[in-house]
């Protein structure tokens, strides 16, 4: 029926539509347009040569990818055999039965995957997505500038010290801004960073009844601190900056310190970069996040078996070796943050100065629900309503940063939005 219909329609307008190949000699893979994934397209040519499986790549910007993959997976649209999802989606989609549980052979060595990653990509102990690369966050700062100003930034330093350091190196007249931080609205942009600050101040998104807590004094203190730090010592237009914008600024030598994804370290081209573990505000929870771009198989995919095989290859130890030994790439370009064994490779250690700091940051992040924070996720909450809540929150925070609203007004508006979304979703 399908092909008759398609062919008839195609003939009617005189266009030849390629008929979709059956079975598993072809896989369609949706990926985020990030460096590691783009490299994978080249590295995987070897996979196609070995197995004969042809790979169709759909690479999209993060937001568009999320929109398309969500509606496709939710309705069983079946457009993709393998999807690139993050740590926010994996446990929720696993719980909803949208994606297949993953099982791999013994050679795969699941135990080698970093525990924090495994925990974040699982629902009730079952792994639903395999990490392709992972990241935490850390402080990246210009040691030449801090030395000249006579300040230091230590691992897990206090926020006050970090702010003092930013003040000391802030020289806008020379085009150097003390601190560059995310301000662009979006739960994965400013939402992610501000949530880690709030975590370190002891704030949480929800209480145990899943009532939003954005009106708590901890949130107020955290957001006030963030807005003050960034508006005093940040570059102009910070409310429009996220990872890419800040990376460009940093490489231009315009940023004194930057707290962001550990992956940024592999893009930095400035001399004298030093790393430190994220600051905290005097309680045991540090301000570092935990994220992975992982691969999953939509439920009911006819090519589930072949897809699983591909994921097994792409997230394996062999894949890391394949990238490291690839003539176009090398050890500086291997995906990191997924496996303990990656960090033990001498060639990788030699190529990546940030390796140690990154692994320490990842290992210190705990995505599991705890007494203090009764939900899964570090810089996000693993519930289906979070993208909407985090989106509204991000917009309010940008409004506070740009001065259009006071911190109190912005938090109250975000609390109101979160409350009505949770009520609407039937939590209480």
């Amino acid at each position: 029926m399908k092909s008759v219909f398609k062919t008839a329609l195609a003939l009617a307008v005189g266009v030849a539509t390629a008929t979709t190949a059956s079975a598993a000699d072809e896989l369609t893979i949706a990926i985020v347009n990030n460096g590691h994934m783009i490299n994978m397209q080249k590295v995987a040519e070897a996979y196609t040569a070995d197995t004969g499986v042809k790979l169709n790549w759909v690479s999209l910007e993060e937001g568009v990818l999320r929109e398309q993959v969500t509606s496709d997976t939710a309705t069983g649209g079946g457009q993709y055999d393998i999807i690139n999802i993050g740590m926010q989606e994996a446990p929720i989609w696993g719980a909803a039965g949208w994606i297949e549980p993953l099982t791999f052979g013994d050679d795969y060595d699941v135990e080698d995957i970093l525990p924090a990653m495994r925990a974040g990509l699982s629902h009730e102990g079952t792994l639903y997505a395999a990490p392709f690369y992972g990241e935490s966050s850390m402080v990246m700062y210009r040691k030449d500038l801090t030395d000249a100003a006579g300040v230091t930034i230590a691992d897990n330093d206090t926020w006050e010290n970090v702010k003092a350091a930013a003040a000391a190196i802030h020289k806008p007249e020379d085009g150097v801004y003390g601190a560059c931080l995310r301000g662009k609205p979006g739960w994965g942009d400013n939402g992610a960073f501000i949530t880690t600050v709030a975590n370190s101040f002891g704030a949480a998104w929800f209480d145990k009844d899943m009532r939003p807590q954005l009106d708590s004094p901890e949130w107020n203190a955290a957001v006030n601190f963030y807005v003050d730090l960034l508006s005093s010592y940040g570059p102009p237009g910070s409310e429009g900056n996220s990872f890419n914008e800040i990376l460009a600024l940093y490489n231009e030598g315009k940023c004194g310190l930057w707290i962001d994804a550990t992956i940024a370290a592999s893009f930095l081209e400035v001399d004298g970069v030093a790393y430190a573990q994220s600051p905290n505000a005097g309680n045991p929870v540090g301000a570092n996040w935990l994220w992975a771009w992982a691969m999953a198989v939509p439920a009911g995919s006819p090519n589930a078996e072949a897809s699983m095989k591909f994921i097994e290859w792409a997230t394996s130890k062999e894949y890391v070796q394949a990238v490291g030994n690839h003539p176009d790439f090398g050890w500086g370009s291997v995906p990191t943050g997924q496996r303990a064994s990656t960090y033990a490779i001498p060639e990788f250690q030699a190529a990546a100065a940030f390796a140690e700091a990154e692994m320490a940051a990842i290992n210190s992040a705990a995505p599991e629900a705890t007494e203090l924070k009764p939900y899964q996720g570090v810089q996000f909450v693993a519930i289906p309503e979070f993208p909407e809540i985090g989106g509204a929150f991000g917009q309010e925070m940008a409004a506070a940063l740009s001065g259009a609203k006071s911190v109190e007004e912005a938090l109250a508006a975000a609390q109101k939005a979160a409350d009505s979304i949770m009520k609407e979703a039937g939590y209480y």
Binding site: F5, E61, G78, Q79, N251
Partner: protein
């Protein structure tokens, strides 16, 4: 003019220079995009390389090697061409009938058609995705993209053609009928020569709109029927520095249509009236 005074010569020069300056300003962003596409991503954000830099084709090589530019480009050509043709095939008879045999409902039908164009696409995105994926199974086919592009442009096509056809004096056709010309002859010998300019500029404008459409083409395709607007969506904010890459992809995506527009500029100027000229 018999005498050109000194002041009006200066005046002329002033207006000429002004016209040139404004035209260059309008073109500047496009120039800047093309210019930046020959810089590396790192150079593109460095003020010291604002104008002097070592040009590179790196971005274009990367685009064709890693992003399969030609597949997207061919899909854009196919879908825009057939959507334009389909819109004309459906639109010409309708506009012809409305212009030469209007009934008292014609105006209402035209207004209604235009009002369908005002429906926000976002309002029906989810149903459309659901329908084409789960019921019709035509998601990500050239057929679907062609039909949707045709439908969203059909109201404009019909209206443009209607206003042209109305300009053609009825008497010419009546005279033809008197002389015993057949209907076919009427269309071939009288109507087509007279309406040719209008049909051509309608086709051009429709083609431009189809090529540049970026809501449905992005959201109703995956790989097979993905057009250049989808290539742009994939590249508009990749991780890392990207001004150079983005400029190259953008230049390659808008290049063909801008050049087409330049060549057909005269046709557009002559034909784009929407009935504005009485």
């Amino acid at each position: 003019m018999a005498t050109v005074s000194q002041t009006s010569r200066f005046g002329n020069m002033f207006w000429t220079i002004l016209a040139w300056v404004i035209a260059l300003l309008f073109f500047f962003p496009i120039f800047w995009m093309i210019f930046t596409s020959f810089k590396t991503d790192a150079d593109a954000v460095k003020p010291e390389f604002l104008f002097s830099f070592t040009p590179t084709l790196e971005n274009y090589v990367n685009m064709t090697e890693n992003y399969d530019y030609w597949r997207f480009a061919i899909n854009s050509v196919i879908t825009s061409t057939f959507a334009t043709l389909l819109a004309l095939v459906v639109g010409i008879p309708a506009a012809y009938a409305m212009a030469f045999d209007p009934s008292r409902h014609t105006k209402d039908i035209l207004v209604w058609m235009l009002s369908t164009k005002m429906l926000p696409a976002a309002a029906v995105l989810y149903p459309m995705t659901f329908l084409t994926k789960n019921f019709l199974d035509i998601f990500d086919t050239h057929f679907l993209v062609i039909v949707v592009l045709c439908l969203i442009n059909l109201p404009i096509v019909i209206w443009m053609l209607f206003t042209y056809f109305k300009e053609i004096p009825k008497e010419i056709i009546e005279a033809g009928k008197m002389d015993g010309v057949t209907t076919w002859g009427e269309i071939k010998d009288i109507l087509i020569p007279l309406a040719w300019g209008g049909v051509a500029s309608t086709a051009l404008l429709t083609f431009i709109f189809c090529w540049n459409e970026a809501y449905w083409t992005v959201r109703l395709t995956t790989t097979e029927a993905a057009t250049l607007s989808k290539l742009i969506e994939g590249n508009r904010a990749p991780e890392g520095l990207f001004f150079g890459r983005l400029s190259a992809v953008s230049t390659a995506a808008v290049g063909p249509i801008v050049v087409l527009g330049w060549f057909c500029q005269k046709q557009l100027v002559r034909g784009l009236t929407f009935g504005a000229v009485k």
